[in-house]
């Protein structure tokens, strides 16, 4: 820390900026801007999202339009179908674009639901302690003991099919992770002298949570969320593979993977493209999460 202070001395002197209340978020933003890798990852992720959102406009064909007579076209062979066609002669490029809609929506939506359920419960358990903590912890134990995919299938069986129900099921089954994370964080931050000092000066519960507890507990949750989005995309892929996910002909990357798996030997591209897209999404969200975490922590500077 002494070494770091020497180095930051000149820099701090150089940038004489007015500091406001929100300086924590301003500083975080400034640090994020300096992180090239995180910026690139954000660009990649935004690009993927943009293509998925704009699919109805930019896709060359509707996702379910078959071209009989031009099935099993390999990529880069036919100028009409740049990325080739599948067994029914549907354009791969169009299906990948539309598939992104479902996959990204499920990934982000399910992750948000697991956060919306898990974070407040975990914070409550950590903050209140006692009986509240006990009850929530036993709930966590119960959910951890059940295999994830079984819980999802059970919930889908109860809720019925549909895109909304898919991410509710996937999200609800995954609330345990963020819940446990934030509980641990809150427990340790709650005991720090600066939180106690704030309490002793009469800070309200709301101030405590907003000013100290959340900012100091959130970074592992952000990383976990970024890493969780790809898992949710995979979960949807698994469900679609089992016939519980989106219904054909609606494409999703996972469904496309599942459908084409049997042809993988002969028609590698049908597996390759959706797999690469899932991998890129994972990379984008992971690096973005890393960058976000680093920028939220002033100690990560330099």
């Amino acid at each position: 820390m002494t070494v770091g202070s020497r180095a930051s001395f000149g820099r701090l002197g150089a940038q004489r900026r007015a500091q406001r209340r929100s300086s924590m978020w301003l500083d975080a933003f400034r640090r994020l801007r300096k992180n090239k890798l995180a910026l690139a990852a954000t660009g990649l992720t935004l690009g993927l999202v943009l293509v998925a959102v704009l699919a109805p406009i930019i896709a060359p064909y509707p996702y379910d339009q078959p071209h009989f007579g031009s099935s099993w076209v390999f990529p880069f062979r036919d100028s009409r179908f740049i990325l080739g066609t599948d067994s029914l002669g549907r354009d791969m490029l169009s299906r990948l674009m539309y598939g992104g809609q479902v996959s990204l929506l499920v990934g982000v939506g399910a992750e948000l639901i697991s956060l919306v359920v898990g974070v407040p419960l975990g914070a409550l358990a950590g903050l209140r302690g006692g009986t509240t903590d006990y009850v929530i912890c036993r709930l966590i134990d119960i959910f951890s003991a059940l295999p994830y995919i079984v819980v999802v299938i059970l919930m889908l069986a109860l809720l019925g099919p549909g895109l909304g129900n898919i991410f509710i099921a996937i999200g609800l089954a995954a609330w345990v992770g963020p819940c446990r994370l934030i509980r641990g964080q809150v427990l340790s931050v709650k005991e720090t002298p600066y939180v106690r000092a704030a309490i002793s000066m009469g800070a309200s519960q709301r101030q405590l949570i907003l000013r100290h507890l959340i900012p100091n507990s959130i970074s592992p949750v952000i990383v976990a969320a970024a890493l969780g989005i790809p898992t949710k995309i995979f979960a949807e892929a698994g469900l679609s593979f089992l016939g519980l996910g989106v219904r054909p002909p609606t494409p999703s990357w996972g469904l496309m993977l599942g459908e084409s798996f049997q042809f993988a030997r002969g028609y590698y591209y049908m597996v390759l493209f959706p797999a690469v897209l899932v991998a890129l999404t994972m990379l984008g969200f992971t690096l973005m999460g890393d960058g976000l975490r680093d920028s939220l922590d002033p100690r990560m500077e330099d």
């Binding site: 820390m1 002494t2 770091g4 202070s5 930051s8 001395f9 701090l12 002197g13 500091q19 300086s23 924590m24 720090t192 002298p193 600066y194 106690r196 000092a197 002793s200 000066m201 009469g202 000013r211 100290h212 900012p215 100091n216 939220l296 922590d297 002033p298 100690r299």
Partner: protein
Amino acid sequence: MAHALRDRRGPPLLDLIDLKTYFFTRDGVVRAVDGVSFQMHHGETLGIVGESGSGKTMTALSIMRLVPAPPGRIVGGRIMFQGNDLLQLREAQMCHVRGRDIALVFQDPMTAFDPLYRIGEQIEEAIEWHLRLDRKARRARCIAALERVGIPAAPERARAYPHEFSGGMIQRAMIAMALACEPKLLIADEPTTALDVTMEAQIVDLLRDLQRDTGMGLIYVTHNMGVVARIAHRVAVMYAGTLVETAPTKTLFGTPKHPYTLGLMRSVPRVDGDLSERLQAIEGLPPDLIDMPDACPFAPRCPFVMARCWDERPQLRMVGEDHHIACFADV
């Protein structure tokens, strides 16, 4: 008993009367502070010494009404601060006493600041809350406080984050924060335990100078006799939740009267002493504070123990000018 302690130097800044702080645990009642009384005057530095678990930190926290509750509770006594009993205040009023009238310097400065906010912001926050100054005045006061504790380039350093400070510097920043609202009483609870000896000496000198310049009262809690000798005007020695001896620093170090204090003095190495001599330890261990009998808590370890010591608890009695001990024996 409390009356025996009063003297004639005007109304005291702090008058602790028979303070009792107990912890109600599953294993029984721990009497962490068991009937402690002392007085402090404006411009005085009181050193509270004692070993770990002797109740010195709990005494300090009780004055701030910061005893962790549950399981702790202040069960008796009065804490008269400038003539008002702090124990009678509502919690909302107490929030304004803490930090403005009485400030506390923690043991571990590294964790006392929120790592996500700049040092200046955190100091200004305290000023804003207590004094309701506008932004400019707040900033000026914050910088002045940092300068007063010897932080170079204070305006720049105010914009640094806690992790950019070294251990000694962050303790200085914390003292600056404590002093920013000009408290009448500063409680320093082992402020140098996290620091090396060189930094310790600097911080102790800094606190002594600040105390002299501002005329505030200072309670310095430590287990380091050397530090106490350096900073305190008067010393209170604690043992097992009770005050066993209090005297002006010179008197205490020159002619200690309580057997426990005597034992402490013998167990501290002296630069001018005979270095070939072995240090003498006090035999035995401090007592378990759960369900203490009505006896002198030091009796099991005391070389001067008498039959009476096992039957009743000795009260503070005067043995010299401003010098009190809780002991039956005349040592």
